[in-house]
Amino acid sequence: MTAPATARGRGWRAPLALGRALALAAALGAALACGQEGGGGSASGAEPIRIGHFASLTGDTATFGQSADAGIRLAIEEINAAGGVLGRPLLLISEDDRSITEEARTAAQKLIQRDGVVALLGEVASSRSLAAAPEAQRAGIPMITPASTNPKVTEVGDYVFRTCFIDPFQGAVMARFAFEDLGARRVAILSDFKQDYSVGLAEFFRKTFRELGGEIVADERYTSGDIEFRAQLTTIRGAKPDAVFVPGYYTEVGLIAKQARELGIDVPLLGGDGWDSAKTLEIGGDAVEGYYFSNHYAADSDNPRVQAFVRRFEERHGSRPDAMAALGYDAAGILADAIRRAGTTDGPALRDAIAATRDYEGVTGRITIDADRNARKDAVVLKIEGGRFRFFRTVPAS
C-alpha cells in the first residue's frame, strides 16, 4: 500500500515546503521503525546471547507479531530465570516490520548486521518470512519461523526452519473436515491472492477436496487490505455452496463474515490458522459464530503442559495466548534447546543442532524437525462458539 506513495515522492525536485514535509515524514518513519530491546534476564553478568525477532508489531496483522513476540519473551524470561543457556542469558531484540513484506527483509538485515544476532526468529506471515529468509541463509544464521506454513519458506535454504505444520497438511485437514465432518460436497473458495499463505492453502484444499470427490463451485479472490467483498460473495452465493473456505488473515476474515451474513450466506465459513486472533471475534462478532478453522493448538485443551503455559502467559501478559504466542514460545524453546545441545552459537553447529530436534515436547504438541526442516505435528480444528474459540477435534499428523 505504501509503494505508490514513495514512488510519487521520489525523484521530484521538491520546493522547500515539501522538502521539509518529506524530511519530517522520514523522521517520523524512522521513529516508528526503531527497534525495541528487552527480555534480558536475571542470569549472571556473562555476555548475553543475542537473538533477533522480526515481527509485525504494528500494521495489518499486528496481533500476529505482538502475540509471537509475547510468547518468545515469556520463553526467554523463563530460560533466563533458570540460569540461561551455556551459562549466558538470552537477550531478545525485536524489530518491527509494520506488516510490510519488503520491511521484513530490512528488519532481518538490521538484526544480523547491526545487532549481530546468533539466530533469527520470525515471521508469522509466509510472504514476509520468504522475504527475510535469503538474508539469514546468506549470513549463515539459523532462522526459525514460528508460524509460516507455506512450504516454500523452508525451501529457501538449509538454515531456515519452522515449528509449525505446513499448508499441504493444513489444507488437506480442512478439505477432509469439510467433506467428512460437515458432509459438504460443493465448496466455494475465497482466497487472498497477494499472500503466499492464502494462495498455498487454497491450492492444497482444492487438490484434496477434489481427490475426495467434492466439487469447487466458485474460486474467488481478494487482495489484503480490501474492505469490500460483496461482489465476490454475491458470485459465491449464486454458486450455492455447502461451505466456503476462506484461508485469509483475521483482518479481512471478520469483514468477509459480516458481509457474507448480510448477503444471506448461511453455510459455514472455514479457515486456517490465519483466523487465530481475538480480532476475528472483535470485528466479526455474531457473524463468525459457528465457523471452523484449523489451528496449531487449542488454549482450552486439557493437556497439563498447555494449561501451565496458558496460566503463566496470562499472569505475564494479562491475556489468553493464541496459537502465534504458543508457536513463538515453542520456537524460542527449540532454539534454546539447540544452543544447549550444540554447546556453541556458531551458525553451522547451531543449524545442525536445530535440524536434529526430535520429539521436543512443546505446548503446540510434540515437535520433530524433518529432513525438509519442517515440523511434523498434529493439527486441531477449532469452532467459534459463544464468542470464543473452542476445541473441536484433533487431526493427527499423517
Partner: protein, 300 residues
C-alpha cells in the same frame, strides 16, 4: 438476473462512497484548478475522527440513529476545519505560483497526513464501532439489502442533493461559480475570493469525512493508509465525470463503483484495482473532458 441486480446494488452502495470523495476533488478543481491529492487523507481523518468521537461518547455499545448523526456531524466539522487549515497553510501561499508547485505541495500534504496519521493513530487497523446494528432492510427473492447499505446510499444522495442546492441556489454557491468561471473578474465584482476558496475546501472536506464515516459503517476496518487507493480512485471518478463538474463527479463515482463490482463479480477481483486506471487512461486518450465536461480551449 437476481445475481446481476445484487451486484448492481453492491456497486451503487460502493460507488456512493467514491462519489462523495470525488465531489471534493471536483469542487476544488473547479474553483482553483488544483488537484488536491491530500483529499483521500481527509477521508481517512474523517473515518478516524469518527472512530474517536464514537469511543469518547461510548456510542459503539448502544447503536442508534442519533449517535450516528452526532458522529457524522462531528467528523464533518473537524474535517471542514482541517480542509480550511490545509488550504490556508499549504495552498494559499502558492496561489500565484505555477500550478505544478501547488500540485506537488498537495502530494506533500498527502504524505504528511499519512505519516502523521500512522504516528498519531498507530499503523494498526482499527475497527469502526457499529453505530447501527446491521440487519436486513428488505429482501426480494435472494436480493438482500442491508440497512447499512441502504443508509450509505441514502446519506450519499441526501448530501449530494444538499451540495447541488448550495451550489445552484445560494449566494455562496453563486460566488463559487463566479470564482470558478473567472476569479479576477469575480474579485472585481466584490466577491471575497479567499473566503469562497476556503468555503469550497470546507464543503469538499466535510463530504470526504461523511464518506469516511459511511465506509466505517459498511466496511468497518480503518487505518491511516486507507485514503490512498480510494483517493486515487475518486480522482479517476472525477475525471471520468469531467473534472470540475459536480453532477459528473456523482455519476463518475457511481459508475466506477458499479464497474469495479461487476469486474470482481464476473471477471476476477484481481483486475478490480486495475480497471479504474484503465478507465483513466482511456478517458484521457479519447474524451479528456470526461462524460459531462464541456470542452474548453486553453490559451497557451
Amino acid at each position: 438476473m437476481e445475481q446481476f441486480l445484487q451486484q448492481l446494488l453492491n456497486g451503487i452502495a460502493w460507488g456512493g462512497i467514491y462519489a462523495l470523495i470525488a465531489l471534493g476533488y471536483t469542487m476544488v478543481y473547479g474553483v482553483l484548478r488544483l488537484i488536491n491529492f491530500a483529499h483521500g487523507e481527509i477521508y481517512m481523518v474523517g473515518a478516524m475522527s469518527g472512530y474517536y468521537v464514537a469511543h469518547a461518547l461510548s456510542l459503539g455499545s448502544r447503536p442508534s440513529l442519533g449517535g450516528l448523526l452526532v458522529v457524522l456531524l462531528a467528523a464533518m466539522a473537524l474535517c471542514a476545519a482541517l480542509g480550511a487549515t490545509i488550504e490556508r497553510v499549504a495552498y494559499r501561499p502558492l496561489r500565484q505560483a505555477p500550478r505544478l508547485a501547488a500540485l506537488i505541495t498537495a502530494i506533500g500534504v498527502s504524505l504528511l497526513l499519512q505519516n502523521v496519521g500512522q504516528l498519531v493513530f498507530g499503523a494498526d487497523p482499527k475497527f469502526f464501532p457499529a453505530l447501527l446494528s446491521s440487519r436486513e432492510a428488505f429482501r426480494v427473492g435472494a436480493l438482500a439489502v442491508s440497512n447499512i447499505q441502504l443508509m450509505v446510499v441514502v446519506t450519499a444522495l441526501v448530501l449530494m442533493a444538499a451540495l447541488e442546492f448550495v451550489v445552484m441556489r445560494t449566494r455562496f454557491g453563486r460566488a463559487m461559480r463566479a470564482v470558478s468561471a473567472d476569479a479576477p473578474a469575480a474579485a472585481l465584482m466584490g466577491v471575497n475570493v479567499d473566503r469562497v476558496i476556503s468555503g469550497t475546501f470546507m464543503l469538499g472536506s466535510a463530504l470526504a469525512a461523511a464518506a469516511g464515516i459511511l465506509v466505517g459503517l459498511s466496511n468497518p476496518k480503518i487505518d491511516p493508509l486507507m485514503g490512498l487507493l480510494p483517493g486515487l480512485k475518486a480522482f479517476v471518478a472525477a475525471v471520468l465525470g469531467g473534472i470540475g463538474n459536480i453532477p459528473g463527479a456523482m455519476a463518475g463515482g457511481l459508475l466506477l463503483g458499479i464497474v469495479e463490482t461487476l469486474v470482481s463479480g464476473y471477471l476476477s477481483s484481481t483486475y478490480r484495482d486495475a480497471i479504474a486506471f484503465v478507465i483513466l487512461i482511456a478517458i484521457l486518450l479519447y474524451r479528456p473532458t470526461g462524460l459531462f465536461g464541456s470542452g474548453q480551449v486553453e490559451k497557451v
